[in-house]
Every structure is written in C-alpha cells, then in structure tokens.
Amino acid sequence: MEYISLFVKSIFVDNMIFAYFLGMCSYLAVSKNVKTANGLGLAVIFVLLCTLPINYLLNKFVLQAGALRWLGESFADVDLSFLSFILFIAVIAAFVQLVEMIVEKYLPSLYASLGIFLPLIAVNCAILGASLFMQQKEFASVGEAEVYALGSGIGWYLAIVALAAIREKLSYSNIPAPLKGTGIAFITVGLMGMAFMIFMGIQL
C-alpha cells in the first residue's frame, strides 16, 4: 500500500517537471514532435530505473555518516557525504556510456531510434535530481527507491509527451512572431504546471 501511494505521489504530486523543473533543457529542446518525445521519455525511465538503486546502495553503504561501519568499528564515524555529487554523477555518466555501447553493438535498430538521446541523458537534471532527492528522503529500502524511480520517470514521460502533442497542434496557430517557438512553449508549460497543481493538496 505504501508503495502504491509513493508511486502515485511521485507521478502527479511531486512531478519532476511541474513541481521541481528538473530536466527542463531536454524537455523543451526535444518536445517538438511526439515520436522523438516518446523515445527520450522511455530512455529517461530506463536510465532512472537502473541508476537509482545503484546510487541508493552507494549512499547507504559508502557515503552516509557511519555507512562504512561494515568495514570495521574504526570506520564508524567516517562521513563521506560531501562526495555524493561526484559519485552519483560518475555512476550516471558511466552507466549511460555503457548502455550506449551495448545498445550500439547488439541492438542497432533501437540505437538508431534512441541513440542520439542517450548521451543527452547523462546531463539530464531529472536523473541526478532523483538521486539527490532519494538521498534527502531517506528511503527505507531499495524497493522504495525503485518505485520512486519508476514513478518519477513515468511522470517525466507523461509531461514530455503531453507537451509534444500540444506543440504539434500549436504549430498551426497564429502566434505573434516574437513569441513563436520557445516563448510560447514556456507559457504553455506554465499553464500545464498550473493544471498539475490541483494534485498538490492531495494527501496519500
């Protein structure tokens, strides 16, 4: 039951885009049509699902204050948490590069449709942001971290596909010239964010 409420909460209430503005750069750059948005969204879900548990274990057994106790009592008061940025981003970048190489070698058709987005994901704030929020929220188990990863990934996916669909429609409307393209996209996202705010009061 706890898992379900965490899942729903991370999709709607704590939506990566509308509540925290994470992954905004690629969100705006790659949302011009639904097909590519779909590819990037799926890639984000996949990378989140794989990197968050690794970072969770890293945080629990290496970085937290006292996490190194399993090495012996003399390590009990070592606090490496100031290293978390560098380790998290190294895990994410290494993982993304690894996935890129594997996909390129064994699944060329998937690489053709997804390939360009994979390197982009290493610098997608939503991935690093999820790891940092995971550290802040202090989840009890790997399972919870995994559910959080799935939920926030799906939330991001929904947001990018919705914006792409709206922008496809918008290209036929008559918009003042200076506002075309980026400007109107910002305002659209703002309005979508307001719509998403109805979920904010929900207690789960």
Partner: protein
C-alpha cells in the same frame, strides 16, 4: 584580437544569452528565483563553476580521449560544484541560503550551460579565453536569474532582499510565488527580447 575578446565577453550576455536564446540551464533558473538573495547566490555560484571548469577543461583539452570525454568533464564540473557547496556551507550567512537552495546547488553539475560551454568552446580554445567565455555565460545566466527573482519577490511578497519595499497595504500576489508563474515570466522575457532583436525570431 581585442575585438574578438570583446565579442567573447559581450555576446553571451545579450545576443547569445544562454537562457533566452539557447534555452539552456532552465531547471535551476526557475526553482531558485522566489527570492532575490537565493537567486544572487545561485548566479554567483554558476558564474564561478562555469568559469573555472571551462578553464580546467581547456587546460586538459589535448589529453582527454574523445570517447570518455563526457565523464571527464562531469568529474571536473562536479569537483567545482563540491567546492562551491562546501564554501557555502561553511559561511556564516550563507548556510541558511545553501539549505534553502537544497538540491539545486548540486544540480549545477547537470546545468546544460556548463557542459555546453565546455563542449562548444573550451575544448577548442586556449585557457584564458575559455575562462572569460565561461564567466560571461555565467553572467548572462545570472542576469536573467536576477531579473526574474526581482519581479517575483517584488510582486509576490512586496519585498526586495527581505526588506519591505512596497507599502504595507499591498496585498502579495501568491500566484507569482508559485512555480508555474516563473515559466510564464520567462516566456514574457523571451517575448520582449525577441521583439527588440528581430533577428532572433523563429520562423
């Protein structure tokens, strides 16, 4: 030479502004602009990080293998961000701001401006121009950040840097403090910028 240097510094602030023209580094620019103080600290942190990491990556540009360059760049950037984070945590007055900015200081690592400048400029240029380019891009980012934060704090709470500016009878507009309004405000800034400079308009 002097002309080129001047372009390197001025271009990112006006004509090639990272936020309004290149649409990079949006994530943090929206989340930290509720108050002017936080936005200013964030802007200075980003200026320091872009400048220093461009400088270091430019020094290393001939030794980084092409295949693993993203990891190397990220490690350099992460090191700079850790330095900034630790300095903010250590300062007497800045500790509270660091708490308020929470994960967004860490997210400077994935701020596309930093990576974008390293990829586009620092890897092909000498260290000193790269340093200036990084600083100028950080400044272009900081300028927009401060404008948005100024408007949001003024209209949202009637204060600037925490001091009451508007008369006490002003009813704070809560909509302005909410996250979506930052996007709409940024959309309007882009609108104004492109109405002024017609060459930037999209077809």
């Amino acid at each position: 030479m002097a002309q080129k240097l001047k372009d390197t510094i001025l271009n990112p602030i006006l004509k090639g502004n990272p936020i309004t023209v290149l649409v990079l580094g949006i994530c943090s620019s929206l989340a930290v602009t509720v108050q002017l103080k936080g936005a200013l600290v964030m802007a200075l942190s980003v200026i320091a990080v872009t400048g220093l990491s461009s400088f270091v990556c430019s020094l290393l540009r001939n030794t980084i293998p092409n295949r693993v360059r993203i990891i190397v760049q990220l490690v350099v950037v992460a090191m700079m961000v850790i330095l900034v984070d630790q300095i903010l945590k250590a300062g007497e007055g800045t500790y509270a701001i660091d708490k308020q900015l929470s994960v967004y200081i860490g997210l400077i690592i994935t701020n596309c401006i930093v990576m974008g400048r390293i990829e586009a400029f620092a890897l092909g240029n000498k260290p000193i121009p790269s340093l200036l380019d990084g600083l100028a891009n950080g400044a272009g980012y900081g300028l927009i950040l401060v404008i948005v934060a100024f408007l949001r704090e003024l209209l949202g709470s009637g204060t600037l840097f925490g001091f009451q500016v508007l008369p006490a009878s002003y009813v704070p507009n809560n909509l302005v403090i909410l996250p979506p309004f930052a996007l709409i405000l940024l959309g309007c800034i882009i609108w104004a910028h492109r109405a002024y400079d017609k060459s930037l308009q999209e077809k």
